[in-house]
Amino acid sequence: MSSANLIRVALGAYLLIFFSYLLGPLVVMSLTAFNSASFPAVSPWACFSYEWFEVLFNDKHIRDGIYYSVVIGIGTVILSVSMGLAASIVLTQVWPKLRSTYYTMIIAPILIPGVVLGISTLVFWDRVGAFLGVSDGSLLHGLFHNGIFLTILGQSTFIASYTMLVFVARLQRFDTDLTEAALDLGATHTQAFRKVLLPFMRPAIASASVLAFLASFENYNTTTFTILEYKTLTTVLAQKVRLGINPSISSLAFIIIVLTIFAALAFEAANRNKDRKLAAAQGRGVTQKSGILPSFLTGNPAAVVLVLLAFMVIVMVGTAQRYSPEACKIAVREAKQIEIQKRIDALKETRRQKEDAKAAQQPSNAAPATPNNSSAFGNVFAPGNLSGDAPEQKVDEPEPQSGTGAFGNVFAPDNLSSD
């Protein structure tokens, strides 16, 4: 093998590893959304199922969380985009010697931990309320202690800095002569801003809005302090992780991934379309549709993959109407029960053999009190456990209230009242 080939193979391997690292978790997570097992898992594959989507849609906490996340996201976009735009315009106008100081000041919130921002937002507005002397139950008091209001403000403090960076980058390419030309042609300052600067900033406003919305949507550490009685998706998820997770979260992740893919596809298609139109308008590069594929697909494997993925999703949504995993589930349950039955039989067999051996040997040789069990968890998770048809298994379960728990039952509710 020549060294060039070696390099090519190594590069291929590297790319493979890199993309598995990048996309692997997403793929695994997406797969778990379709496993009927009650814990997000791929490897003991039970049944292909859509039930977790149903669980997701029926989960009021998640629905509320998404709703408030979107509301807060929109509020944050409006506030942080306008603050960021204003800040960036001031930055270009401010006296040059002051500029770096001003820049540092505006950018500082990015460097402050979100936790600090969250707490300080909470405390600050409480103090503002106290300073203004707003009474309990008044409108302002309600506002200053409203989780949505506080979260929008808290998130905007640092998201506005992000958006400002986007705007500054765009503004640096703005020719200030254009504003002067507008003024010279009789426009007022407002007209010059609205008709010349704002249209120029539109792409930056769009990307800053997306950035701000995503930053707001995924924010946890500021939100967790400011959200108070409300909940956002992130706080709901955090709670769920603490209390026990199920694959409905995977299905949510899957939906988000799919939406992202569709958005990316639409964006790419729109972009290519625009480029083609522009090229056609300038009379160069006459575009011909080649074969059956739309032109933006040719020579772009990523786009092909995206289209395939999108197609898969459509097929899945289609089959979800008819497909029912019940038959499979019953089969799995039966298979499990047969498995359990087999184990029980095996267990009985070994026990019987042991007892026979014991009977044959000396009775003084004390046998272990608890029966041996081949499963690591002593089959506590076996679905048949609680059904009552396998009484032998119950021996494994700890005696309730026996006082031998890990903490010696210090947390038992009647501990304090008993003495």
Binding site: D175, D177, L178, E180, A181, A182, L183, D184, L185, G186, A187, T188, Q191, K195, V196, P199, F200, A281, Q282
Partner: protein
């Protein structure tokens, strides 16, 4: 079309911090004139233009447009329209929207705007191109759109800030003629900023030559070229050979300068300095390359210069002969190409002759840097 409106600058001084960009400028521009400010970059000519258009206020002095003091009146309220050096067409608007922008901000309906824009597009020979974006036009077309956009505002004064500097030579020469024609057609006052003397001389009724914030001379193109009033103007506008020396004698409008290198030479005194020069003063004398010609070898008078040939260049329509001159500077002589193979040989000692009326003398002063 509105007729021209006079623009007067009264004792304008403009300072930025410690730096004085324009010093005590007095300019009276007649209505309907094509007036140019000519000077090297950094001489303050754009600053003057910005003071006229209202983007900055003079530190001292007044700007009057049509006799009206413009102090405190913003650029959007002045009857001026500025054509920017980089044109500053709005890149996201179509050509016709660009042209009709001044009507849009004034609240005109789309129909009216489109109609006026199409008229102007026809005038600049770009009919039917209104729906393009500026980026789809060529340099010269953009140039004309910028002019149309400025004219659409019906200004009394059109200000042009080196609008041709970005164009290539052929287009620049074409646009010169075109600008002059447009000016004659619309009849409004044009104030033109340039560092290109060719543009200033061909287009302007009057030219102000500036040096480091000071206006050196205001005159017609002819007078600027033939009767420069300072050494700076003489050396900045066109090519010129300088001879340094002292005034030996004065006879009315003529003077004999005893030059450092070429002996006593006769010259007329530039009109602005007649009566102001004294015998014994440091003086400079200028003769244009085209005013020099070969003299018979035995000629020896106060209008003959003898020097060694350093170099000769063929320029197509003429030969340039460079001779050893004063203070490290070479004397350049321009000889029309009439089919000769060459004019001189390297190292040859040549005698050059000139007509005293083609030489100008003035008090010594600062020359334009090369």
């Amino acid at each position: 079309m509105s007729s021209g409106v006079a623009v007067d600058l009264e004792n304008i001084t403009i300072r930025f911090g410690d730096f004085t960009a324009v010093k005590d400028a007095n300019v009276n521009i007649n209505g309907g004139d094509f007036f140019s400010f000519l000077g090297p970059s950094g001489c303050g000519k754009t600053t003057i233009l910005r003071a006229v258009s209202g983007f900055l206020d003079p530190s001292e002095g007044r700007v009057l447009i049509g006799g009206k003091d413009m102090a405190g009146i913003g650029p959007n309220k002045r009857p001026t329209a500025l054509i920017f050096q980089n044109l500053a067409l709005f890149p996201l608007m179509k050509v016709w929207e660009n042209i009709a922008f001044s009507m849009e901000v004034a609240g005109a309906s789309a129909g009216e705007r489109r109609k006026r824009a199409d008229e102007l597009l026809d005038m600049i020979a770009l009919g039917g191109q209104g729906d393009k974006l500026p980026s789809e036009l060529s340099g010269g077309q953009k140039q004309r759109v910028a002019i149309a956009r400025a004219l659409c505002a019906n200004p009394d004064v059109l200000l042009l800030d080196e609008p041709l500097s970005a164009l290539d030579l052929k287009l620049r020469q074409h646009m010169r003629t075109e600008l002059r024609e447009i000016q004659k057609r619309v009849g409004i006052t044009f104030i033109y900023i340039t560092h290109d003397q060719g543009e200033a001389l061909t287009m302007s009724d009057n030219v102000a030559v500036m040096k480091a914030g000071v206006i050196e001379q205001i005159d017609t193109g002819h007078h600027i070229y033939d009767d420069p009033s300072t050494p700076f103007v003489a050396s900045f506008v066109g090519e010129n050979n300088v001879f340094r020396g002292k005034v030996k004698s004065i006879n009315g409008a003529n003077a004999v300068i005893s030059t450092n290198r070429s002996g006593d030479l006769l010259s007329r005194i530039t009109p602005a300095q007649v009566g102001k020069m004294q015998v014994g003063d440091d003086a400079m004398m200028f003769i244009r390359p085209e005013a020099l010609e070969l003299a018979p070898t035995d000629a020896a008078s106060e209008t003959t210069i003898t020097a060694n040939v350093m170099n000769e260049e063929f320029e197509g329509n003429s030969f340039s002969v460079f001779l050893e001159g004063d203070g490290g500077k070479m004397i350049k002589m321009s000889v029309p190409n009439l089919g000769q193979d060459h004019i001189s040989a390297r190292g040859e000692n040549l005698s050059l002759r000139y007509d005293a009326s083609n030489a100008v003398a003035m008090p010594a002063g600062e020359l334009a840097s090369e």
